[in-house]
Assembly symmetry: C2
Homo-oligomer: 411 residues x 2
């Protein structure tokens, strides 16, 4: 029985990033970058107009109003091959490259076409560089756009595309085998008889693994029999990681460490001083494959996944080793004193107006523990967006006091 | 030119939920529920032991220590068909059904087996109901487990599975066509020449649409030609919704409203008093298909997606019509006064220790505007997790003051 800090030390020592692969950029979404993405051009690649108007030489318009001769037109997407001489202007659109010779743009609303469009009357002076984004303002050729270890989100995809990175090198998504155990588990479309329990953990874990950017692989349920379990675990060890959930049968669960050792696995930890989630086991297979045996009760499986499995999968995906972050929120309700185990309570984070503050509309993060009946209750934790974290032997907490929470990643 | 509140009125009047379909539970992840999920059994389905120990009649152990006769054994997953008589006990495991006649459980650590296991010595008295979760404690048969309009997350999957809902009725995910416009757009693996620009918006929108639980459909780029655009838009209107991004060419962009009208679409709004994102157009096709024409610059496309397209897709997916929520955060840095347009600034939300507060470790949400060069800059917005929202004609904001933000959904 070890505490959660020690568990992280063991976990981070025994889980390694997966292989690096090169993929099409669009297939790299939500993968973690293995090598920096550098921009292969200055961006923007030319001095660019930020307005519709006229490209001018700023010295020509210093004493506006002045009349300039219109010598060309540059819609976005086109270039103008000439060079702007003294007393000349070129009509330019937003996004178009500034022509040679020009050093500023006058907005169309500050101008007037005259002489059937042969000349343009410039009403205002402009400083050099006005309404221009200089080449390389956003990024210069060769600079790093995205650092390795970054998870590629939508805005990162846009940056990578701009940088010309069509085949980034990323960490492969791990495949995670899901294996239930216990003769009492039945399919969810069956009505439980006697002591039977629907296999809700399979659905919980499949969704959690998906939300952790990994690929779930359903291996069904191993019956309470050493040989059956051994066969299933041998198959599961072909995946990149394994999540086993016990039934709620103590007898059945006890087979797992024994059979894992028969399969050549090394036990790393077997029990944690947390509630729920105490019987959480971490082992590594003969090739180092991480194996997690989670409690059979849904609350324990959920909490153990969030605390242990999700950080492990993040490492396999190439992200930094890190425990879930703790932040604080104002408690909505009260909390009783806790036992000697670190306690996690499914809760919902909301934003409330801070009526004690002067600023109109200022909001404050609050957290409301869910009406949850404990580790066996798969219904009461449905809308959880956070876990309230209570230290061992904590005192009671009054309404409005700060409590520590882990905000859960969207799942 | 309308403001954002008016835009939401128009949007919410013109976007409707999509069709309802029945799917396998595991395929329902991240869909929105169309009909309530009710539990088809009491849960737990029986009075359940929460401990390993002995099922007893509490009246028998009132004057502990006492000796009881051991008459059976109930591992989890099994039932015991007998009925517990006076002076009898049954060995029971966590999760197992309480036998008839028993009304409490004594923990194994408070007992001792004697006479070769024929009898058990009970050391402590227990109250009726001790260490038992009563049948139906979590939910009673027929009660609603998940309300319609709920997005099905991992914990909701567990609850639905427990309730026996193997084929929920959910709203179909919309397919969203993505169409770029502009002769200057090139594939990202080409090096831009002259006025060319890589088509980064396609990658941005594909990822944003995916993150909004919809299915992107890439239609490529329409060249700056009315006939080409008409053909592409006619094809796009076969999807459930359409996102068009202009090039940065004003000329090309101006074709879009005209061609949309040629295709039988009705204009709903054409410009918004927001920055970036002013040239955001919303129309509905002949069959009511929502069409969004977003600015060609990446900042404008990103902000317009988050403000307009994401809430519209949420409605199509069966969720409530709602503008992005505004909360507050302490500004890290300073902000200049704003123009007459409502201004959005890509930013990063972090948690900082509140050193002015007494509680050890209390944290506060802070927001740091990114080093972003404006709407054309697709690099500087890469790590945005929020948009700072500045009202029209807002004063400057000093470091540490509260500002309004939209926290962005994970993308």
């Amino acid at each position: 029985m070890i505490d959660i800090e020690e568990a992280y030390d063991i976990l981070f020592d025994n889980v390694r990033p997966g292989p690096v692969v090169e993929v099409e950029l669009r297939d790299a979404l939500h993968h973690t970058l293995a090598e920096p993405i550098r921009c292969d051009v200055d961006y923007p690649p030319f001095d660019r107009s930020t307005m519709d108007g006229y490209a001018v030489r700023s010295t020509d318009v210093r004493d506006s109003p002045v009349l300039l001769t219109l010598v060309g037109q540059i819609p976005a997407g086109t270039t103008w091959s000439g060079s702007l001489g003294e007393g000349e202007a070129v009509q330019i659109n937003t996004g178009a490259p500034l022509p040679d010779g020009a050093d500023a743009v006058v907005r169309v609303e500050d101008t007037q076409l005259v002489e059937d469009g042969a000349r343009v009357r410039i009403e205002t002076a402009v400083a050099p560089g006005r309404f221009i984004t200089r080449r390389g303002t956003y990024i210069a050729e060769g600079q790093t756009v995205i650092e390795p270890g970054t998870r590629l989100t939508a805005t990162a995809m846009a940056a990578a595309a701009t940088a010309g990175e069509s085949r980034p090198r990323v960490f492969e998504r791990p495949t995670v085998a899901i294996l239930g155990t216990g003769d009492e588990l039945i399919a969810i479309n069956k009505r439980p008889q006697g002591a039977q329990i629907r296999n809700s953990n399979q659905y919980l874990l499949e969704a959690l693994i998906t939300s952790a950017d990994a690929t779930p692989k359903l291996l069904g349920v191993a019956r309470d029999d050493r040989d059956a379990l051994r066969e299933k675990i041998t198959g599961a060890l072909q995946a990149d990681a394994v999540c086993i959930t016990g039934g709620i049968s103590m007898g059945a669960f006890d087979f797992v460490p024994e059979v894992l050792e028969m399969c050549g696995a090394t036990m790393r930890f077997r029990k944690l001083t947390i509630k729920p989630g105490r019987p959480t086991l971490f082992a590594t297979g003969p090739d180092g494959t991480p194996v997690f045996a989670l409690p059979g009760n849904p609350g324990g499986a959920f909490v153990a996944f969030e605390l242990i499995v999700r950080p492990a999968l993040a490492i396999m995906e190439g992200r930094p080793a890190a425990a879930p972050k703790t932040i604080t929120a104002a408690l909505c309700g009260t909390l009783a004193p806790t036992s000697a185990r670190r306690t996690y309570i499914p809760a919902r984070v909301t934003e409330e107006t801070r009526d004690h503050r002067v600023e109109a509309g200022a909001t404050q993060r609050t957290v409301t523990p869910l009406s949850w009946h404990g580790s066996g209750d798969s219904i009461g934790m449905t809308s959880a967006t956070a876990l309230v974290v209570r230290p061992p032997n904590a005192a009671q907490v009054a309404d409005g006091e700060d409590v520590a929470i882990h905000v859960l990643e969207a799942s």
